[in-house]
């Protein structure tokens, strides 16, 4: 065999020397990115989130080709997509359920970060980028839900935009500015469509920063200790192969919902066209907002409720300094682990409370859980860090030898 390089190889190298596109990808998520060898399947959810972002953008682009952002035509155009556009039903069901699955994946990704202390030094900025992505996702999902112009779209938009009116002095003008008028109307729908198309690309930009910030310290791992070079393996082919299997499992669940239960996560009322004169008895947001909706309604004062709701997310920005423990992985933190799982269950209960009318048990439970939500961050995080004696950490990923606790 000839050792001479083929013309294709030489052309490739000529191009790479001038614009190293392939090397860039290989360095980012390929064979030149060394990752700790002990990552478990919870580390799969980052690439799954990336997959869902691409899925949402692609299905969204095709939906936008057939959608009409006008209050008299939006609902009809969605029905036309469902009935007359080739595979329109599939694209729309993938997009509508895709939002839910994107949030499921991202919530697991966030809880993984919480459990394994991925927000701690030196990964604070990486964590911040993640919160910004989460905020942008929430804004995008909220505005996307308004676009079909069903009853829940309209009334959800009315309730959520009205939250800003709680702010003193500037509140009312802000709401008028958001609406583009004196109520949720055609201008609101137009600007929400425009922003719903824009924000996903902002998310793409934030993802670039998220991955950039990831590459400075490298991936955290289930032991939470620094991974020695000898304990690292190339991302490709090891984690690309592992993530491909995880993607298969994920898609089995996603497609089962898309094809067989496409409306199970949606509200039936959104199949009724928006009517400003008929207020639904029970306005609920999509499930992924329910815990925050419960926090909003747990507090009797509107302004404080709004601040608590936004505070519930913003507190994540200072989490790296609220947590006083230097041990990252909860596997070595016997007390924190208990409070973490309590926090997880607390989140689920908050979600349930958010889905119910704010009275009786759901209201009381919502208040207790709201209290624990903030108690977890502002009291448990610092205090447990000081009080707890962590279990001895291993000296390295491959060594079973334990070194003394710090």
């Amino acid at each position: 065999m000839s050792t001479e390089k083929s013309v294709w190889r030489r052309a490739f190298e000529w191009h790479e020397a001038r614009l190293p596109l392939v090397s860039f990808i290989d360095n980012s998520v390929g064979s030149k990115y060394p990752a700790p060898k002990n990552l478990n399947y919870f580390w799969n959810f980052g690439s799954l989130a990336g997959f869902m972002l691409v899925t949402m953008i692609l299905t969204g682009i095709f939906l936008a080709m057939n959608y009409t952002p006008h209050k008299d035509m939006a609902f009809d155009s969605v029905e036309r997509i469902m009935r007359d556009v080739n595979f329109g039903w599939l694209i729309r069901y993938m997009h509508a359920n895709g939002a839910s699955f994107f949030f499921i994946v991202v919530y697991i990704h966030i809880f993984r970060g919480l459990y394994y202390g991925s927000y701690k030094a030196p990964r604070e900025v990486l964590w911040w980028m993640g919160i910004l992505i989460f905020l942008a996702m929430m804004a995008t999902a909220f505005m996307g839900y308004v676009l079909p112009w069903g009853q829940m779209s309209f009334w959800g938009a009315t309730v959520i935009t009205n939250l800003f009116s709680a702010l003193p002095i500037i509140g009312e003008p802000i709401v008028t500015f958001l609406w583009g008028g004196f109520g949720v109307d055609n201008p609101t729908l137009n600007r929400f469509f425009s922003l719903h198309y824009l924000l996903p690309f902002v998310i793409v930009g934030l993802v670039v920063f998220h991955i950039w910030a990831l590459h400075i310290p490298g991936s955290n791992n289930p032991l939470g200790i620094e991974a020695a070079p000898a304990d690292k393996i190339p991302f490709h082919p090891y984690y690309t192969a592992k993530d491909a299997f995880g993607l298969g499992v994920f898609l089995l669940v996603y497609f089962a919902i898309v094809f067989w239960y496409p409306n199970i996560l949606g509200d039936p009322l959104n199949y009724v066209v928006a009517n400003p004169l008929v207020t639904p008895t029970h306005i609920v947001p999509e499930w992924y907002f329910l815990p925050f909706y419960a926090i909003l309604r747990a507090i009797p004062d509107k302004l404080l409720g709004v601040l608590a709701m936004f505070g519930a997310i913003l507190v994540l920005f200072v989490l790296p300094w609220l947590d006083t423990s230097r041990v990252r992985s909860a596997n070595f933190r016997p007390w924190f682990r208990v409070f973490f799982w309590l926090f997880f269950i607390n989140g689920l209960v908050l979600g349930w409370c958010g889905s119910q009318l704010p009275e009786g048990l759901p209201l009381v439970l919502g208040r207790v859980c709201t209290f624990y939500y903030f108690f977890f961050f502002f009291v448990i995080m610092p205090v447990v860090g000081w009080m707890e004696t962590p279990k001895p950490l291993p000296a390295s990923i491959s060594s079973p030898v334990m070194k003394a606790a710090e």
């Binding site: 009935r83 599939l90 090891y238 298969g248 089995l252 409306n263 039936p268 199949y271 209960v349």
Partner: protein, 255 residues
Amino acid sequence: MKKILLAATAALALVPMSFGASASEKVEFPKEKWSFSGNFGKFDRMQLQRGLQVYKEVCASCHSLKYVAFRNLEALGYSEDQVKAFAAEYEFPTLDDEGSEIKRKGLPSDHFPSPYPNEKFARASNNGALPPDLSLMTKAREHGPDYVFHLLTGYDEPPQGMTVMDGMHYNKYFADGNFQIAMAKQINDDQVTYADGTKATADQISRDITAFLHWAAEPKLEVRNSTGLRVMIYMVIFTILAYFLKRRIWARLEK
């Protein structure tokens, strides 16, 4: 740790069941058997044709079906010519070459016309109530087709002590409206005479119209189910192969 995980999983399983609870949750909606339920569900063409007859003879005098075009009826097993003839029974306003308003015969591309010229007219004809469009009815209510079926058959004498408002009717499944519905009982035994000879009990008629309305709401149900099956088979094979590929690649590390 295991226990906590177990408890969390149990909580996770319970939570979605209570999502989206509304007033109609207070009423038990017995689950009915539909040919289109389940992952392999298919519409029963003869039932859809009977349902179309019920819509045309009973519902259409008050309810529109605006998202369904006559051309869609081919999915019910009718030929192109039958659909053309069906559409031609309807009239639609148009303009002639001089600009005068005239009527033309319906075409397969036309949608079912509304029985009323506008909402005000509809309300005036119905004691102030607006008969809703039925195209999406089975997807626009909790319990879907079961809701529609039970509502149609849920007319009864009001319980003792309950006064039903003037022009309203007691229906034990209409929880969202305090069990008082503007629509009177529409479906009785032998309300229609089926072309295919099926015995037209009130129960049968209600099932047929519900099936037809579910087709109207979700016309792509069959292709969705069958595509789903093929996609799932593909994904199972993909996932198994990906698993063994992963094992083989990771085996290199043990050397």
